[in-house]
């Protein structure tokens, strides 16, 4: 088969179908001209098949490649990097269609197709994407079957059924491999797709930033507690602290990057939970205060935040344990406190004056904080997603003029006043609350749960958290953003199709929660099944991890699976044994019992004649069987099991009865 046979029609059909199915999910992140390229190439290929067009010559191919390169350069701005590489890969996949002449070309195309399916996973790896990808894979396998030169492979549906059947039969073994195959870390680091829209907190905060986040219903993370879920108003998921203020923007201090863990004392009952984080493109992890995170390559930084060495660019699962009543940095050092007192030289004079006044009235820090909170509670402050824009002295304007703001406004203003009054304070950002999914007993935290609050420091008490937003809009903390905003404000206004908008429809909400549940399971058990997660699961199943035992289990159960499949496919019990030979063997055994044994190489007739001589009384019956056997076996008479059996029966009756030895 070394010659290069052409491509059967059926294989071409399946290739075109498969190609369409492979490219479809890529269209979400591919430039649109790729569709035109595919339509053109497919049309051209069909015309070639109908002998109405010719294969492109070298010039045409070169020209097309240049056009593609130019297209990638125009739409991606570069020819390197993952995004450009994927466009190039798909374009190659499409153009290969045009120069596909032989079976070998078709094979290249099919293998390229499998690879393109894998690259699509880098952009989308939900349940839907995974299930969908079975379609192109089936079509590619059908094309592979169609390349076989058989009458069977010329029919479309049988090829498809066979391809689907192969996939189904492969499924158990695949699950086995998935569970047991050892996962290792990346061999070399690769760029991640930049198109993957990542929203989330950033390391600096202008008052409007968090309001921007609250327009997004995208998932930030999910957390499942081992015990009961704490009440909503205790769920302050810390991400990081902002210590530097430039008059307008709060940002992280450089010092926070230093990896020197702060001292703290455990107190009270710990909370145990696990978190599956969505990719954020940022290195920090979320935890309740004060959390301990069990994650390789991550550590607690000076401001109690947890940080990983690499950014979280794929879903990440980690275990955490928190002590909500812990005492944090009871004896902080002066430089740290100085950083928590930093203010711009100038600006916001009214706020500074008010802070001085408060300080005079309340020499005790606790009293001052209480007074400040009371101020927010009593005065007509409004919690809104659409605050008015603020001018140069943003704190002043917010505190005394507009009095409309979002959590970032309140946290920023409070921290400013505390600092101005000589109390070390800083802004903490993270998420607050989350939606409890009753089906799975876990909390889902979305981007619109992003929050900012305040923590201040007092000798011997260390850092204490306080949330000014609670004073203005307690519903925000107790119920969530939607309830806090009420009718007035546009919750998810620009996401008309978000199922979150239709929560009042009970059945729809049920459906949505069920779907979320499924997705969570998918993430925990499929997407998150890497490294530690795998070790943990295998440890639960097999006790002490012993790679030898695991390998044995894998090989053993794999062999078992394949054996079962082989039994089912080959059905050895159905293989009809040769009935004539069976009858002859019975005939031999019968005579052997009477002392006549067939010698090696003795034919049926010779044996029967000899037996007839030794048992003359039964000679006719013996001859009759032998004739019947010979007629069926060698003279081409129709095989009849019944005739043989009858002849054998007569012989048995003719022989004297004998005890079996």
């Amino acid at each position: 088969m070394s010659a290069l046979p052409g491509i059967p029609r059926i294989a071409l059909t399946w290739l075109l179908v498969a190609q369409l199915l492979v490219i479809l999910p890529h269209l979400l992140h591919l430039p649109l001209w790729v569709i035109a390229l595919w339509l053109g190439a497919a049309g051209w290929r069909v015309q070639i098949f109908r002998m109405r067009a010719r294969y492109p010559n070298g010039w045409a191919k070169g020209g097309l490649m240049l056009v593609v390169l130019a297209g990638v350069l125009l739409s991606r701005g570069t020819l390197v990097g993952l995004d450009a590489a994927v466009v190039l890969l798909i374009a190659t996949f499409i153009l290969k269609l045009l120069e596909m002449r032989t079976r070998r070309d078709a094979l290249v195309l099919i293998f390229l197709g499998f690879f393109c399916v894998v690259t699509a996973y880098l952009f989308e790896d939900g349940i839907v994407a995974a299930l969908y990808s079975l379609l192109p894979v089936t079509a590619l396998l059908a094309a592979l079957v169609g390349l076989q030169h058989s009458g069977f492979a010329e029919r479309p549906w049988p090829t498809l059924r066979l391809a689907g059947g192969l996939l189904l039969q492969a499924l158990p073994l695949m699950l086995l491999l998935f569970v047991f195959f050892p996962r290792m870390g990346p061999l070399w680091s690769l760029p991640m797709p930049s198109d993957k829209g990542v929203t989330g907190l950033s390391d600096s905060m202008e008052p409007a930033d968090i309001a921007e986040l609250s327009r997004s219903s995208a998932l930030a993370f999910r957390a499942s507690f081992e015990g009961p879920v704490p009440p909503r108003d205790q769920l302050y998921w810390r991400a990081l602290t902002l210590e530097r203020f430039d008059g307008r923007r709060w940002s992280q201090s450089n010092y926070a990057e230093l990896p020197s863990a702060p001292q703290w004392r455990k107190a009270g009952e710990p909370l145990d939970y696990s978190i599956v984080m969505q990719p954020s493109g940022k290195p920090w992890l979320f935890a309740l205060d004060v959390g301990e995170v069990a994650q390789n390559e991550s550590r607690m930084m000076t401001d109690f935040r947890w940080q990983r060495r690499r950014p979280v660019d794929r879903p990440l699962l980690y275990q955490a344990r928190s002590w909500p009543q812990a005492l944090r940095e009871a004896d902080a050092e002066p430089p740290a406190l100085r950083r928590a007192l930093q203010l711009p030289e100038q600006g916001d004079p009214r706020s500074r004056a008010w802070a001085a006044e408060l300080q005079r009235e309340h020499p005790q820090a606790e009293a001052l904080v209480a007074a400040l909170l009371q101020h927010f509670n009593r005065e007509p402050y409004v919690y809104t997603l659409r605050p008015q824009p603020l001018g140069r002295d943003s704190i002043d304007e917010f505190l005394f003029d507009t009095r409309r703001g979002f959590c970032a406004h309140y946290a920023g203003a409070m921290t400013f006043v505390l600092r101005a009054a000589g109390i070390p304070a800083r802004v903490v950002t993270g998420y607050q609350g989350g939606e409890l999914n009753p089906g799975g007993n876990y909390i889902q935290v979305r981007q619109f749960d992003a929050h900012a609050w305040v923590e201040y420091w007092q000798p011997e008490q260390g850092w204490r958290s306080v949330d000014p937003t609670y004073q203005v809009a307690p519903q925000r903390i107790e119920l969530g953003l939607e309830d806090a905003l009420g009718e007035e404000d546009g919750f998810l206004d620009d996401q008309p199709f978000s199922p979150l908008r239709y929560r009042e429809l009970a059945w729809l909400n049920q459906l949505r929660l069920g779907w979320e549940n499924l997705n969570y399971g998918w993430q925990r058990w499929v997407l998150g099944y890497q490294g530690e997660q795998q070790l943990k699961l295998l440890h639960n199943w097999f006790g002490n991890l012993d790679w030898q035992r695991l390998a044995l289990a894998l090989v053993g159960s794999g062999t078992l699976l394949i054996g079962l499949l082989a039994l089912w496919l080959l059905k050895p019990w159905q293989q009809r044994a040769d009935p004539q030979r069976q009858a002859f063997r019975r005939f031999e055994r019968l005579l052997a019992r009477h002392g006549v044994r067939r010698q090696a190489g003795e034919g049926a007739r010779a044996f029967a004649e000899r037996a007839g001589r030794e048992l003359p009384a039964q000679a006719p019956a013996i001859q009759a069987f032998a004739r019947c056997f010979e007629a069926q076996r060698y003279a081409g008479q129709p095989a009849s099991r019944a005739a043989l059996r009858q002849a054998l029966g007569e012989l048995r009756r003719a022989l004297p009865w004998r005890l079996l030895r």
Binding site: F115, V118, S133, G151, A153, L177
Partner: protein
């Protein structure tokens, strides 16, 4: 190394798959290995696995494992496509050197259908056949006949790559087939001899026997004479219907004699072959003398075949 292993391999095969006119393929007789396409597939899977590892992407792992498993499952399917197939020698007619020897092989299904079964003798192209369930298919395999004598084609390769082409399952089957190859007919002088052991009574006979044209004797056509023996040239000259007659030697038998010819033995056999065919066609009785072997004068199909067989096997061990 390969050459050294070859006889060993042949002996092992002969023990495992002994020659027989009907062979059923089973697990003792079927070998299976990845094909070149399968190797390329494995490379593609490796690349996919690298994507899975480097991007820590579970779905990439998943698809890689799925296709790996498909590969494993395909082993069973490829094996199944050959298993249970029965091959039977279907005979074939004798041919002359230089022609294509055709062997007929019958493929029978006892249980399931067998798709795209390829069979043949490897340097030659394999022939593809589908065998329907409980049905049969026939394949005519041809081999060039290069040497007279028995043509034993050796072990027949039966292979299948169905369904995916990733693996090739094959067997080497000896259907114990052999075809007789006659020498290539070569036109030339009629090698006559007067008779076995007879003293030359008629001196001129051999001289007149030189060349076919000289030899022709003609007599009037009588109903019942073969039309092939009509002398059309004479007829066109207006001499009436005449029949070419060899019977002028009647009374004496016509002997084709190996020893009366010159040249090497193959050439002599070729000339004899030509005349065996010619004389048989003209329904002329003749005898054949070969060194150590004499076939008495006779005519008819059986006689011709016996003579050709003697020519084909001349000098070979029986």
């Amino acid at each position: 190394m390969r050459a050294a292993l070859k006889p060993l391999w042949g002996r092992w095969l002969a023990r495992r798959i002994p020659p027989a006119a009907s062979v059923r393929l089973n697990q003792r007789r079927i070998f299976i290995l990845p094909s070149r396409v399968g190797a390329a597939f494995a490379v593609a899977l490796l690349l996919m696995l690298l994507v899975g590892i480097n991007y820590q992407n579970s779905l990439a792992y998943g698809l890689t494992f799925l296709l790996m498993s498909v590969f494993v499952v395909a082993i069973l399917h490829t094996y199944r496509n050959l298993a249970g197939l029965v091959l039977k020698a279907g005979g074939g007619g004798a041919v002359f050197v230089g022609e294509q020897a055709r062997f007929r092989v019958r493929l029978e299904s006892r249980e399931r259908e067998h798709q795209a079964v390829a069979l043949g003798w490897p340097p030659n192209e394999l022939v593809l056949r589908d065998v329907p369930r409980l049905g049969q298919a026939e394949a005519d395999l041809s081999l060039p006949a290069v040497r007279r004598g028995w043509l034993r084609p050796g072990r027949l390769r039966v292979e299948s790559r169905f369904p995916l082409g990733l693996l090739v399952a094959w067997s080497w089957v000896d259907l114990d087939q052999a075809l007789l190859i006659y020498p290539r007919p070569l036109e030339g002088d009629l090698p006559l001899s007067v008779g076995l052991g007879a003293e030359d009574e008629e001196e001129g006979m051999r001289a007149r026997g030189r060349g076919a044209d000289d030899f022709q004797g003609l007599r009037d056509y009588q109903p019942g004479d073969s039309k092939r023996r009509l002398d059309w040239k004479a007829y066109s000259r207006g001499q009436g219907l005449l029949v070419k007659d060899f019977a002028m030697l009647s009374g004496r038998d016509l002997w084709l004699d190996y020893d009366s010819l010159g040249g090497d033995s193959e050439m002599r056999l070729s000339l004899l072959c030509h005349w065996v065919l010619q004389l048989s066609e003209r329904q002329q009785p003749f005898g054949l003398q070969l060194p150590g072997q004499v076939i008495a004068p006779d005519q008819g199909e059986g006689h011709r075949d016996a003579c050709l067989r003697a020519l084909a096997l001349f000098g070979e061990r029986p």
